[in-house]
Symmetry: C3
Subunit: 262 residues, 3 copies
């Protein structure tokens, strides 16, 4: 049983995702299709980039990840497939969606997916998810190789977006990477520590607030209290127990944070 | 592996769809169940009719489509199953949901699904999705025939809702069939052309606006510009790049459009 | 093919559920994962308790139900697994989620799930759904027994939340258990009758309204009329045809209702 994991901005009201699954089911009926999210912001590829990064490690080897957040559909942007040897495959429009995972992949190889033999026979100008991504993903699951689906291309690996902090950190700047549905604000500050206490000397500045010692879990905060903790994605996040830190602080993706010894 | 594809108005907050899948899983554990949409408007069967039409072609032969948008549940409305020979099957309440696909099906046969042997032993008055549709769909996947599930009925095929346009079109009236989650307005005007340029002589009147040459893709419009294009469903649609044509125009399903030589 | 059924409050915007499914897919690739709801209220376990109760009977024997509505994650609350012999299994935080089903289970056995051998190697403080629940569910599907996953514990069975009514009922007090997405208000009053007419002597008091004879289905009400009927979950519910009883009455979970001979 091979797995295809989907991230799109298609929502679930119309039949866009259903069409993609129909196409996959017709070509690779044995594939197991898993929805990661279909609620990525239509125009904001950083949401999809973060959700992909925070989930891909938990999927089996050989999983084919398909991300269709593609404001440039129909324009000259390329569709690419990046794979680890004997490992995970990522089929995406070339628009930055892989920026968080590329620095972590081991010996990634990339292909420009340009061989229409593996696409639907009629390709619309506006729905490549159904007409190109879905059939190519199904053929990947069936064992078709990157060499057959397109041509090898060079890949430039971006710098890692993460900033490490540890027991000896004095000051580190960072930024807000993501806000989840609970309103928790996830930063790009990545603890590299043995014990949770190793960060107890640090406080976090965010908006015009300063938050003291890093907590262990949401339940360590009082109701309504703004706390910082090492979250489930392995990054420092800011939360309010039973409420939304994003609403309380009024901040946005990209806004700066500073962690410093207090 | 056989496929059951679901369209309902049950939403995903309560367990309605989960119950249906539980029933299917108990009777046909090998079935692959695909969600097309559970956000059809509870009382508007035209949404489900459009979503079914725009997706069914992409599913494998033998797929069993189940549509439970059923404001008349518990009343005298019939449940019917329509099938193509050796082909797709459609299990629906008899309330117009098949209006867009019936004119396209080849030699459809129809059955009134009235044999309670294949239903759950207790049938509620309000949730036939779980008590009748789900078990009947599972039995269909298991190979039970229409003759066993009910009795053959005559089917009246409605007129096609689509209006063809092509390189020699001078004027054609149409209407808005559907608005998708992005606010794109999909019309019933269907291009029958070889090359996208074949429609460049036509302009579209919608609301009190006139939109010039048909574009190829969303990216051909300026940000905020109202454009018309041949959409992914094979119909003319009206869109605003990175915004909602539905909100900009304030129009509704059924409102008229006119395409004419300019 | 074994089934895992999921109820969480994670929503579908972020990748939380996707991560859980990735973990399951890696450990038990043959498992069939069914979403019941991911829209339980983050802090209100009674929604999940009701949704679980109203759906679990419809799933095949051996189904593993996983409920992650867990405001106490990271605190001292236990994770437990309750199973019927040769039957269904329930993996939940110990916070009341099983209150509606426990009185119905036959000879349930319970385990405190505390053996980290079957968890992910790194367990976060805030996302036990991914790090503990998902791998334990996958191992349950693979045949690992409760004795291996944790230690046997005693279970106190709560009183049934339901109040029976029948043809000879004169008066019975009850309360609102649940409001579904259509705004129907489901009570804890459970008809135990042979024929729908057996309740026609009863009227329901709710808010400051009195509703006469129990109806059979939504279509028996006039548009806009407040009606009471025996709903699909086997309980008396209050509905308004094509509208929301919850909005019309402005009532909440736990508010009292009285049924009495009129």
């Amino acid at each position: 049983m091979k797995t295809i994991a989907l991230i799109t901005d298609f929502g679930t009201v119309d039949g866009f995702v259903g069409s993609m699954k129909g196409v996959i089911s017709a070509i690779a009926p044995q594939a197991q299709v898993i929805d990661i999210s279909h609620e990525s912001s239509p125009q904001h590829t950083h949401h999809a980039a973060f959700v992909l990064w925070s989930t891909y490690k938990y999927f089996p080897e050989q999983t084919v990840f398909v991300v269709v957040v593609d404001p440039g559909v129909g324009s000259e942007r390329r569709i690419i497939m990046v794979e680890e040897i004997e490992g995970k495959k990522f089929l995406v429009p070339e628009n930055g969606i892989l920026e968080f995972i590329l620095p972590e992949l081991i010996n990634p190889k990339a292909y420009h997916i340009n061989n229409p033999e593996y696409w639907l026979s009629r390709v619309s100008s506006t729905f490549h998810g159904r007409d190109i991504f879905a059939p190519v993903a199904a053929h990947l699951v069936n064992g078709t190789r990157g060499e057959d689906l397109g041509v090898r291309i060079e890949l430039s690996i971006p710098e890692s977006p993460f900033r490490d902090i540890n027991a000896s950190t004095i000051e580190q700047e960072g930024r807000i990477l993501h806000a989840d549905r609970f309103g928790n604000l996830i930063t790009n500050l990545r603890p590299r520590i043995e014990r949770p206490d190793d960060l107890s000397h640090l406080s976090l500045e965010i908006g015009n607030r300063t938050i003291g010692a890093i907590k262990k879990t949401y339940a360590d905060g009082e109701y309504g209290e703004l706390i910082a903790l090492a979250g489930s994605s392995g990054l420092i996040e800011v939360a309010v127990r039973n409420s939304s830190a994003q609403q309380m602080l009024g901040l946005r993706i990209g806004d700066p944070v500073i962690i410093r010894s207090s």
